[in-house]
């Protein structure tokens, strides 16, 4: 088990968005968390990434275990640097005032000096050729789809081995959605572990190996993607009948 969330309860101020969440991700898997708006999906990712205050959800009980060790005391930058775990946040959050190239370069901030970055830039540019074409443009001038690719590319440049993705399909035209999800599949086949949060449950379950269904801070269903796709209640609530 690479990552395991054990009976996690967190609070923002007096609001408690998670009520005892338990799930796990194995190495090499794509696992998806699906559920409606406000179910607590993003909160789970923020908790794993150990975001600093004021965004940070405060863990009141339970544990987050990565490679056998609790990471509750780990700083957000060490999560990236030492655990090789990167979050591509909802809404992309790319740095619009930097060029595409600068966004990617900045992501290598915590990397070891001897790392062979040239190869990795090439890898990102092969995965997303559009980024290469636009490498010297200010990134706020990119289209929504290109910005999402940059957000994923930026996360990859941190040297991550586990990728947390928050709503990567949001706001993308269907063609771009499928293209992005094909790339994610390719990444996974090359060894990347992915934890995917999506509102588009249908798309997510067709990519993922396993999934968990969240409702107001608790997990209400779990199983392989095929099981969830066949589950009548999941179908009714999240897959449009």
């Amino acid at each position: 088990m690479l990552l395991s969330i054990e009976n996690l309860c967190v609070k923002y101020g007096n609001i408690q968005p998670l009520h005892g969440i338990t799930f796990h991700v194995n190495e090499g898997e794509i696992v998806t968390l699906i559920g409606a708006n406000g179910a607590g999906k993003t909160t789970i990712l923020y908790s794993i990434a150990r975001l600093p205050p004021p965004e940070a959800p405060r863990v009141i009980s339970g544990d987050i275990v990565f490679q056998g060790q609790s990471i509750l005391q780990t700083t957000p930058s060490d999560v990236v640097k030492n655990l090789h775990l990167a979050l591509s946040p909802e809404g992309r959050r790319i740095f619009g005032n930097l060029t595409v190239w600068e966004n990617l370069k900045l992501a290598t901030y915590a990397r070891a000096k001897e790392a062979d970055l040239g190869k990795e830039y090439d890898y990102v540019f092969t995965l997303f050729p559009r980024l290469k074409e636009r490498r010297n443009q200010r990134s706020e001038s990119l289209s929504g789809g290109e910005q999402q690719m940059l957000a994923v590319g930026r996360a990859l440049m941190t040297g991550c081995k586990t990728l947390l993705l928050d709503e990567p399909s949001m706001g993308l035209a269907p063609v771009l959605k499928y293209e992005l999800f094909r790339k994610l599949k390719q990444l996974n086949e090359e060894g990347m572990t992915i934890l995917l949060v999506e509102q588009n449950a249908n798309l997510a379950l067709h990519l993922a190996h396993r999934g968990y269904v969240l409702d107001t801070g608790t997990i209400v269903a779990a199983g392989t993607s095929a099981e969830l796709l066949g589950n009548p209640e999941v179908k009714k609530a999240y897959l449009g009948g």
């Binding site: 975001l51 700083t75 930058s77 990236v80 959050r93 740095f95 930097l98 900045l106 901030y109």
Partner: protein, 302 residues
């Protein structure tokens, strides 16, 4: 013609002090959207640090002036940088970690400046300090235009400081991180970048150059008093705003613009008109371009 060249040299020298101080305001604002009102007093502390280290090196150790100066520059910059970092550490960071509104941090900065002024007054008294002469001032006259080696050094230092900071902000990863923070603080730790470390670097740079400005100012106008940083600090802040706060090109240009306006006013009007006309000009510039010369109107993104 000679008169004009003379005034341009004077304006460049006078504007250099504003530019060096304005750079510190703009760096901190760019990263934290904090108007660090203690910055003018950090400049004053820099001048005093320069005074004590210069006196120590010259009188106590009896070193020759140019060696004392060569040592004085790094000592002043490092110690003043430490003052800036200390302010960040004990005053601004705790507020930031508690998620305090920006207004409270600005007020805190204002109080930190007053504390620096009055601590100086309490410890060293109200009497003015005469800055010792480190190097002999040479006066050169070319075709009716006079300048000194010190004036040229001040102007050159301001340009070098600008080129260094511009290189740093556009070319290095630390500089990119500083720009990234100014755009979206949230996503920076997600790339493995420790936010607090970048903020400390920002304060080191801003305060270090304020210290350098303090040393050069004390060498040029060798009378020190606790309130010397207040007015020049305010003016440098206004220069940074007119240039477009958050942009180092703006701070640099704004500093020289203010210096030029002040010198030109004095050249044609009684010197009592200086600040009145200078600030009226700056007010008109802001009315015409409220975000400053290099500023971009920020749109809030969700």
């Amino acid at each position: 013609m000679e008169n004009l060249v003379q005034n341009i040299i004077n304006a460049l020298q006078w504007g250099s002090f504003y530019a060096l101080i304005a750079l510190g305001y703009t760096l901190v604002y760019g990263v934290l959207t904090l108007i660090n009102f203690a910055h003018g007093d950090v400049f004053m502390v820099g001048a005093y640090i320069a005074f004590f280290s210069a006196t120590f090196l010259l009188t106590t150790l009896g070193l020759p002036g140019w060696i004392a100066l060569a040592l004085c520059i790094p000592v002043t910059m490092i110690l003043t940088a430490m003052v800036g970092v200390t302010l960040e550490r004990i005053a601004y960071r705790p507020l930031r970690n508690k998620g305090a509104h920006r207004l409270y941090v600005v007020i805190t900065a204002l109080m930190c400046g007053l504390i620096l002024e009055h601590a100086n007054l309490a410890i060293f008294g109200a009497s003015r300090k005469a800055f010792p002469q480190l190097i002999a001032e040479h006066v050169y006259t070319i075709g009716g235009v006079t300048f000194t080696n010190l004036k040229i050094a001040v102007i050159a230092t301001a340009f070098l400081a600008f080129l260094f900071l511009h290189w740093m902000v556009t070319r290095t990863r630390v500089g990119m991180a500083m720009r990234a923070i100014s755009y979206d603080k949230f996503a920076v730790p997600l790339l493995g970048i420790p936010l607090d470390r970048i903020i400390v670097v920002t304060f080191i740079l801003g305060s270090g150059f304020a210290g350098l400005a303090g040393l050069l100012f004390a060498m040029s106008y060798p009378v020190l008093e606790p309130y010397m940083g207040a007015l020049i600090g305010w003016k440098a802040f206004i220069a940074a705003v007119v240039g477009g706060i958050g942009d180092i090109r703006g701070a640099f240009l704004g500093g020289f613009l203010l210096g030029a306006v002040e010198i030109m006013v004095v050249a044609f009007f009684p010197s009592t008109f200086r600040d009145l006309i200078a600030f009226t000009v700056l007010l008109l510039i802001l009315t015409w371009k409220p975000t400053g010369l290099f500023g971009i109107a920020k749109t809030t993104k969700i």
